[in-house]
């Protein structure tokens, strides 16, 4: 079990900068999610931790040990892939035993350890099968077993659930989280699925274009995004953004006016900022029929989801999505007021798209 420190990691492939000055600390026994869209560099970062890629510059530490130049096999990491990468010509037992065989562990001990880890992952009865005889979920377990059998210090997971169907994903998600805590292993988890990151991780690092935009607990990145991108990437549906002008203590959005939220009053005055982006989450607002206090718009569409519905309202041409309770009936084009919970509003600088409270960082 180790803590991982990445110091000013840059990785270039030719002219392309995949990772740009990455600084990240991952605590011992922590479950860290690397979240970002495809091509953001999150997998590259994972493979750099594994030692598959050597950083162009910067250092990697496992505890106090500098492992930047250490080959993958001496880092004692377990790796799980999106496509599971099971060896197709080996049976499940041989697949799991392979890392131990390479370490020249005695046969008896291999037998014992493979059975142990297989039991932990509920695949004892599959040891005699070939990977192609298994379902996706079973293959996934075998891949995790293979990564865990050598008792790694760090478990690295590269989108391990993306190839599973939706229901199974939810199931494995819960189990994987529990397993990580039980084993007390440091885990780094790459995903493009924000729900997965929020559900499983202790902390999330949001990555875009090779840079870490924000690191924080699920609550922090969800409710206090540092960038418009972070707010827009997390949540389903994601955060809403509307342009607003600051006018003597009020935010003017199209033809509506709402007071500047209490938590921003001082800051706005101090910064003297005039144009902002107003961000809020779909469940932090309500839709009220008719014209009232709030952002005034009209219903563009509505989508019942069973327990609730998503109402899309057009506020002067900008669409916002808000959750509304079931049973309330809307009609297309109907005038509505979107009333936002003041304490949940996040304001961003319109130019840099940074949250105002982080503007001076």
């Amino acid at each position: 079990m180790v803590k991982i420190i990445l110091k000013e990691i840059t990785k270039k492939f030719g002219d392309f900068t995949a990772l740009n000055n990455i600084n990240l600390k991952i605590d011992d026994r922590e479950f860290m999610a690397l979240l970002g869209p495809s091509g953001s560099g999150k997998s590259t970062l994972l493979y750099t931790i594994a030692g598959i890629y050597r950083p162009t510059s910067g250092r990697i530490y496992f505890d106090d040990r500098d492992v930047t130049e250490v080959p993958p096999k001496d880092r004692n990491v377990g790796l799980v892939f999106q496509n599971w990468a099971l060896y197709p010509h080996m049976k499940v037992f041989e697949n799991i035993a392979f890392p131990l065989e390479l370490r020249k562990v005695p046969r008896q001990e291999i037998e014992k350890k493979v059975r142990e880890v297989a039991k932990m992952l509920h695949i004892e009865n599959l040891l005699d099968r070939y990977p192609w005889q298994l379902s996706g979920g079973q293959q996934q377990r075998v891949a995790i077993a293979r990564a865990l059998v050598k008792e790694p210090d760090v478990l690295l997971l590269d989108e391990p659930l993306s190839n599973l169907d939706a229901l199974l994903r939810l199931e494995v998600r819960a189990e994987l989280k529990r397993l990580q805590k039980e084993l007390g292993i440091t885990a780094v988890y790459v995903t493009h699925d924000q729900a997965e990151a929020l559900a499983m991780a202790d902390r999330i690092a949001v990555i875009k274009e090779g840079k870490i935009l924000q690191v924080g607990t699920p609550d922090e990145v969800y409710y206090r995004p540092k960038y418009r991108f972070v707010g827009g990437f997390l949540g389903n549906p994601p955060m809403n953004f509307v342009e607003a002008e600051v006018e003597n203590g009020h935010l003017k959005v199209y033809e509506s006016k709402i007071p500047v939220p209490a938590q921003y009053r001082e800051l706005i005055e101090k910064l003297g900022i005039k144009e902002v982006l107003l961000g809020f989450r779909p469940h932090d607002a309500e839709v009220i029929k008719g014209i009232g206090e709030g952002l005034i718009g009209e219903v563009y569409s509505f989508e019942p989801l069973g327990r609730e519905q998503i109402v899309t309202a057009s506020i002067g041409g900008t669409f916002v999505k808000v959750f509304a309770p079931e049973g309330e009936h809307f009609t297309f084009g109907e005038k509505v007021t979107v009333k936002i919970r003041e304490d949940r509003i996040v304001l961003f600088d319109k130019k840099t798209e940074r949250a105002l409270e982080f503007l001076e960082e």
Binding site: G51, P72, G78, L79, L102
Partner: protein
């Protein structure tokens, strides 16, 4: 025949007829002609006179007799076995080694390196053979001789190709082996590129060396390609003769221990002096039977039928 099966038959004929036509025209017809000629006294291309003169299995008896008593023909058979056997091993394992070696180095030098190995196959047969003709030439102008003499290893030029049997064999094996290696290399390289890179990464993270990755992961996953290259190269080595023909023609290698059965067939049917197509045809039939048996055995041993897939869908 009901309507759908008639439609199916029409579609089948449409797609298969060009290939069937080609197989019949360029493979089956010559094959049956060869078998037919092997039972006649056909010689000197005097078709009118000999084409109907049946001699039964006389030509085969002659071959058998030669095999027992004629040292020249014995040499041809022995040369064929040694040439095909050793060149096959060099081609298949050399190709495999090159593919694996280039797999573990970065792409640019790897493709340059592979291109280099393709040169023998790309250059015209005569030009390529000429290069080795000068290289192995028996006089002091031969590259090999002049190098060895300059280094003081030998004092007299050595006529390499006339040292029988191994001198002659080494040269024909070397020259053909160099051409054949690139085939295996290309097939194995493309096979390696099909293997998901995660398998290799996983093995590396688990501590496997390049050798262990090759032996335990990559080679087992290339079984089918190995079988394909093995069978293909076996058949093509059994029937190839252009390079050997030139090297013998130019007197670089010994005539007896430089001639394989395929070249023997060619020489007997089309060579200088008396041409004996009846005998050549019989030898060609024997060669074909060897090829069929050899090919069948390799396919059987490596379980070719498992590789066959059922067509997708029922219609």
């Amino acid at each position: 025949m009901n309507k759908t099966s008639r439609e199916k038959f029409a579609a089948l004929s449409f797609f298969l007829s060009p290939m069937i036509l080609m197989v019949v025209l360029f493979y089956l017809v010559p094959l049956f002609m060869t078998i037919y000629i092997s039972f006649t006294r056909m010689r000197n291309w005097n078709v009118e006179k000999y084409i109907t003169e049946f001699v039964g299995v006389y030509n085969y008896q002659r071959l058998f007799y030669m095999f027992q008593h004629d040292p020249t023909f014995k040499a041809v058979i022995l040369t064929t076995v040694v040439f095909v056997g050793i060149t096959l091993i060099i081609n298949v394992f050399g190709g495999l080694a090159l593919a694996l070696a280039t797999f573990f180095i970065s792409e640019k030098p790897a493709s340059t390196f592979r291109l280099l190995w393709l040169l023998p196959r790309m250059s015209p047969i005569a030009v390529y053979s000429l290069v080795w003709y000068y290289f192995f030439h028996g006089s002091e102008i031969g590259t090999l001789n002049s190098i060895l003499m300059k280094l003081g290893i030998i004092s007299q030029p050595i006529p390499w190709g006339q040292i029988v049997p191994w001198g002659a064999w080494s040269i024909i094996i070397f020259v053909n082996g160099l051409v054949g290696v690139s085939f295996g290399m290309i097939v194995f390289t493309s096979a390696l590129n099909q293997i998901p890179k995660e398998l290799v990464i996983a093995a590396r993270v688990d501590g496997a060396s390049a050798w262990e990755i090759s032996r335990k992961i990559l080679i087992p996953l290339m079984k089918w390609h190995f079988l394909y290259v093995l069978t293909w190269q076996f058949l093509s080595l059994l029937t190839t003769y252009p390079h050997i023909f030139l090297l013998v023609q130019w007197d670089l290698v010994n005539r007896d221990y430089g001639t394989t059965l395929a070249l023997y067939v060619f020489n007997t049917a089309f060579g200088r002096g008396e041409q004996d197509q009846g005998l050549a045809a019989a030898a060609a039939v024997i060669l074909s039977i060897m090829g069929i048996i050899g090919g069948y055995v390799t396919l059987k041993v490596l379980q070719f039928e498992k590789m066959m897939k059922r067509p997708r869908g029922d219609f």
